[in-house]
Subunit: 328 residues, 2 copies
Amino acid sequence: MSIRVGIFGYGNLGRGIEAAIRQNPDMELAAVFTRRAPETVKINTVGVPVYHADTVSDHKNDIDVMILCGGSATDLPVQTPTLAKLFNVVDSFDTHAKIPEHFENVNKAAAAAGKVAIISVGWDPGMFSLNRMYAGAVLPEGKDYTFWGKGVSQGHSDAIRRIDGVADAKQYTIPVEAALEAVRSGSCPELTTRQKHIRECFVVAKEGADLARIENEIKTMPNYFADYDTTVHFISKEELERDHSGIPHGGFVIRTGKTGFNKEHSHVIEYSLKLDSNPEFTASVIVAYARAAVRMNQRGESGCKTVFDVAPALLSPLSAEELRKTLL
Amino acid sequence: MSIRVGIFGYGNLGRGIEAAIRQNPDMELAAVFTRRAPETVKINTVGVPVYHADTVSDHKNDIDVMILCGGSATDLPVQTPTLAKLFNVVDSFDTHAKIPEHFENVNKAAAAAGKVAIISVGWDPGMFSLNRMYAGAVLPEGKDYTFWGKGVSQGHSDAIRRIDGVADAKQYTIPVEAALEAVRSGSCPELTTRQKHIRECFVVAKEGADLARIENEIKTMPNYFADYDTTVHFISKEELERDHSGIPHGGFVIRTGKTGFNKEHSHVIEYSLKLDSNPEFTASVIVAYARAAVRMNQRGESGCKTVFDVAPALLSPLSAEELRKTLL
């Protein structure tokens, strides 16, 4: 029997989940839940109902795992603990500093309800976290580096759009090649924020806006840009739409470390992602963990989990025998 | 209390295990077992006993996990099932085609004895297998590629040494850069053996040997060299010792795949290793899995496992809270 998946929230991530489910024959989309008027939400899968979020408890028995597609700022801190009382759930909570608190809240709800909740799934947190953890366990004496990009940062793009005189904008985070090479050399460099990443901004200004002032406001914006080498390009609305409509992202997790009785040998472990679509890749990771959530719950497990707690085999539709035979 | 580790077999891998244990403060080397006369085996750790392999059952209660450092051809198929009756064990069985059979034999022994046995641990099989599995679960529609090198192949070096007139030899397996680039492009190329790797051989000939004949014998050797572009360099014994005494290795696992309703987006997942010492890195992976074997057994688990069955958190000395706080 297929795993019946629910999608809670239908934006970029929700649409990515919908597409990813179609690539996994052992899963089916059971329903989409939205806070909008359901009849106004047109989804891509024929024959699947769209319900209002307020009715979600009516569907408790129709869904094996609910995937939460809301934002980390205000949606998930409320939604994940609430829905973990009713369903196995997976979320992509990505406010790193607040993960311990979110974990505790979700764990209480999921444990009491006998459900499995897997939080902070995606690529960072998610696949990058896994690679940091594996590499650290294997090379205890070493140093980790994470680089992001080249990719679109929605938060930084939004920050530019809030500047007076800006009509639209897209910001790319780009790792500095020389920093990557220094890390790969095994020299364990100490790198400043500025040395690791540059920020490139494509801005559509409103007619008559003061471009010099906008550029200055971007480059001096605290936290977002002031600590980076930032370049600003003013382009037309048409150019933005033509050349910058995608949501690519990616990055690198590198650990270098030493082994040997006298630490005489160096090793480099590198994991990298190059993604055409950040939300679709994030969704693909989440769907694999949704499979694991259902399997763990079927085995009698409950409570909050992270990628660190999930045995890799649980992610795959292949049997243990097939995995050993074909991938080991 | 420290995890008490036994080493069974004291060659390159055994010495690597010994060094790796010193980098893990929660583990201690309890004893080394050898088939040689124990008094002839000098180990690097002060105060640790060396016993004859035949006495291993006398030490059943002194060792929490035994690491088997024998070869896959004849040692491990016998040793792992035998020792899994007495100890939690970890091995690095790497004959890919025989893993299912080895698994069944070890599983019977370990399950009956209530012990945990983790087989085929290292980097390939091992970390590379994990990365193939994770990437395949995340991108179900895609294609996997594994490249090895640049690194020393012991099997190929040995094959050259068996040729008449050869005093010594070292063979490097080298991935073809153009093939790597083609894979990373997402074009899903079909690559022949010859297109993926080249083989570079450094050979010390005996005095008066026919170099042309040796070179020809190498290049036409079935399975080992005939399907590859192979280069042969004749060098002096001193040059071999000076420039080719290390045991570096490494490689790349790359998966490219598509997502989206119309498969319109491409993604590249790449994992790579660059290792100064193949046996020491393999040993470092094994030691992390030895920790996991003990923890799984303490939880009441038994039977044969592979890297696919081990939840990542079990590898780390950090607590679940610390992992979530620092690495997620």
